[in-house]
Symmetry: C2
Subunit: 479 residues, 2 copies
């Protein structure tokens, strides 16, 4: 992996660069469509150097965005046109699906050349989703040390801290002073291969290489040389076990406001570090995925291959078909009543639809609270009671509105029936919206994944049952 | 605001502390219900010192979590029992609603004492949601400098960078060397009031106090004393205008992997800094809020006051009532057809429900892509076409399943009608799921907020219309 480039040689960026770049971005930091079209035109015309000149001033993150906006064929053409701009930063910023697709299209030697530039964490991300054959082809091209580092990382579970961590970090023994550390860091013979490109904290380890403390660089810089690092460091640390799932890692970073954290193996040895710039993507991904999961859209990425998007979604549509059939069976049971009064058929979807909406609201709130660790066994009953109160308030308002309208347009008895059914269904929906996700959470299942199907089934079925049942019970129609 | 505590005096944490703390947390990092109950019992018994002993070993973030898990009365009792543990870190980690409620319950002098300990950004967060009277009471208790800093921050728009930033930062002139900076930082007479408690980068400014570069602390530490900082710093910077909305700020931090960023006013002067530990909360909040917004649950926080939760949600239920009435009107139009064949009433909700589900899937994917800046004018048509293909694949599968089932249970002609209606509705739903949020985005409206209502209206109405309309068109029933 690349070490820190010699700092004195760090290229001074062109001061015009950022101004030029800005004109390619709109006020929301998105690439302007006109600019994207210019690149497309250059690529379509086969003019690689024009494409290069257009893209060269962009920030790596914007180059990555540009790839995502292009069509597949254009992506490969652009990659070939700007091969020396395809830095680690661009690769790391690419959408997972786009990256995987592009790497698969590259020859193994070219993919290995890119992999070698990357820190372990980015290198692992690059090849972990490839199939075994492609992985082996790239690994075979790497030198032994890099290969070993990546193979070790790949031996950890998918989406675990071991996959995400950087092996490169700065660790010092307990007896070190601030002066010792600064001298070490300035020394030109520090092993550049194990040296991180960016670091924000250093780790203090004992003779077994177990972390005993963490020290922010600002504490080092504000402390005289002769002070021992052990006297400045913070002993209370948030250690990350190497097998911990990335969702849990993201929550810890968020909860404790971490910038970096030591990763330890089963024996408690320091084996790597995680830095927040790698974790923010996961925090956003995990927080954002609940909306997708609840809707039944799987990974829900516009770059996801068509077949994967189809199979993720059709599964939930089929599940939903099952719940819709249950609701239909209830309507069929009341078929005779509908034949007597067709207004029932006209109005029944209103009860089901509003109940469904109320249930989805409560479910979204509950799933979010569970994800944020705000809803635990300690306050489940309080939250359920709170949602019940909100549901009753909502139920009364909606019942009055629809009850009055139906009384005027149809008849007052039908208005009374739909009003009562609405209150019943909104209250049931509110309870289902809390209890279904909580039940999944207790069973150690992700509440965002399957709650929708059950909540929808309950709100639909109960909506039809309450409305048609009350119509029969009130003597408005008979079975 | 408090400066950096003298580092040499930094208290060494009790090494048993973290072990003790861990036993209070379950494997998901949540406070164990048994522990929470112990604290509740101590508070109910009025035993403040028992409560103190229980809470004392906790990390500030866990103390904040504990407050959120308690009932309102217990929260105030706990705050009084552990007043000297109510540090800035605890306050900053508290849920907004819980914090606001608790601060309102405190006397102004006590609230001011807490405010004084905080960095500007946390202090602003503490009082920005209070009503004007409470704000004034607290501000009046502060000393002039703190008051001015907070009043300046409050003069920026709600949810802007100016509200979030810390005024405290380290800035040096262009001619400084690494040695000059280190000497300054070690100097005991640095003005502790303007000195940040944590910092990760330093800013280099010109004579007008405009930022010209940023320097990571690791670059300083790895560079000899006599090198000019201007030779190590990065000139390409991501500057944050003080009025920028927090959602945009969060996207920039995420996109460019920032640890900290300079905040500049309209004249380009450096006025503050933002650090990623304050932004991760916003990244998570903004990414997570789409699920809540799409469901129509407003802020959707379990700690939101009942009245606010009710008014946020009932508004969307009423909007949904409107769309349900439109769907009902379509059914009413086909009332005669339903009277001839009650099976239509039994089956019609299936078509609407599956269409609604398919539309929600596509909408969730589209809203997420827009939020992540992945879907822009450059690729709208490609994404629409992609979703259309997914919708057609889904439509065919679902149509075959329901068509066969209805053919067997009812009649083959009815099976053909529902199959055709299903394809039509899923395709329309897929298009609506893309076009509705894109249209809101083009009109500079948050696509997560109002898309649901429109998508639901289209999928419901079209579901009923396609199914009942095709039943009439096929001659199965007459109008």
């Amino acid at each position: 992996m690349a070490g820190d480039p010699d700092i004195l040689d760090r290229e001074l960026a062109d001061p015009q660069g950022s101004a030029g770049e800005e004109s390619r971005l709109d006020e929301d930091d998105r690439l302007k469509p006109g600019f994207v079209r210019e690149v497309e035109n250059a690529l379509d015309a086969g003019d690689e150097s024009a494409a290069y000149d257009l893209v060269e001033p962009l920030h790596p993150a914007d180059i990555a965005d540009l790839f995502e906006l292009l069509e597949r064929k254009e992506r490969l053409a652009l990659a070939s046109a700007i091969s020396d701009l395809m830095t680690a930063d661009v690769i790391a910023e690419l959408n997972d699906f786009v990256r995987e697709d592009m790497i698969e299209a590259l020859p193994a030697a070219a993919a290995a050349a890119i992999t070698e530039q990357l820190d372990t964490d980015d290198a692992v991300q690059l090849i972990e989703d490839l199939d075994a054959e492609d992985q082996q082809a790239i690994l075979a091209e790497l030198d032994a040390e890099d290969r070993l580092a990546i193979e070790t990382a790949l031996s950890y579970p998918d989406e675990s801290a071991g996959r995400l961590m950087q092996r490169e970090l700065v660790a010092v023994p307990e007896h070190y002073t601030v002066g010792n550390l600064i001298d070490d860091l300035r020394s030109p013979d520090r092993n550049s291969d194990d040296f991180p490109t960016d670091f924000w904290e250093i780790f203090v380890v004992d003779h077994r290489h177990h972390p005993v403390g963490t020290c922010q660089l600002s504490w080092i810089l504000t402390t005289p040389r002769d002070v021992a690092i052990a006297d400045v460091m913070k002993r209370e640390q948030t250690l990350i076990p190497v097998e911990m799932d990335q969702e849990e890692v993201a929550l810890r970073f968020q909860k404790y406001g971490l910038i970096s954290a030591a990763v330890v193996n089963d024996d408690g040895r320091l084996v790597g570090q995680l830095t927040v710039d790698d974790i923010v993507h996961i925090i956003a991904e995990e927080a954002g995925e609940d909306a997708l999961l609840m809707s039944g859209a799987g990974e829900g990425d516009i770059n996801e291959p068509l077949r994967e998007a189809f199979s993720a979604r059709v599964r939930w549509l089929i599940a939903n078909l099952g719940t819709a059939v249950v609701a239909s069976a209830i309507i069929a049971f009341f078929g005779g009543a509908i034949e007597q009064l067709v207004a029932l058929a006209v109005l029944m979807p209103i009860v089901a639809s509003i109940g469904g909406n109320a249930g989805t609201q409560t479910m979204a709130v509950t799933v979010r609270a569970i994800a944020m660790n705000q809803l635990t066994r300690s306050n489940t009953w309080r939250v359920l009671w709170r949602e019940l109160k909100v549901a009753m308030m909502n139920g009364v308002v909606i019942a009055v509105l629809i009850g009055l309208a139906v009384s005027v347009i149809f008849t007052p008895p039908l208005g009374a029936v739909i009003a009562a059914a609405m209150v019943v269904n909104i209250v049931i929906s509110g309870m289902a919206g809390v209890l279904v996700p909580v039940a999944f959470d207790r069973m150690d299942q992700d509440p965002a994944v399957a709650s929708s199907v059950f909540v929808t089934m309950i709100t639909d079925s109960m909506g039809f049952f309450a409305f048609l049942g009350l119509a029969v019970a009130s003597g408005l129609v008979s079975l």
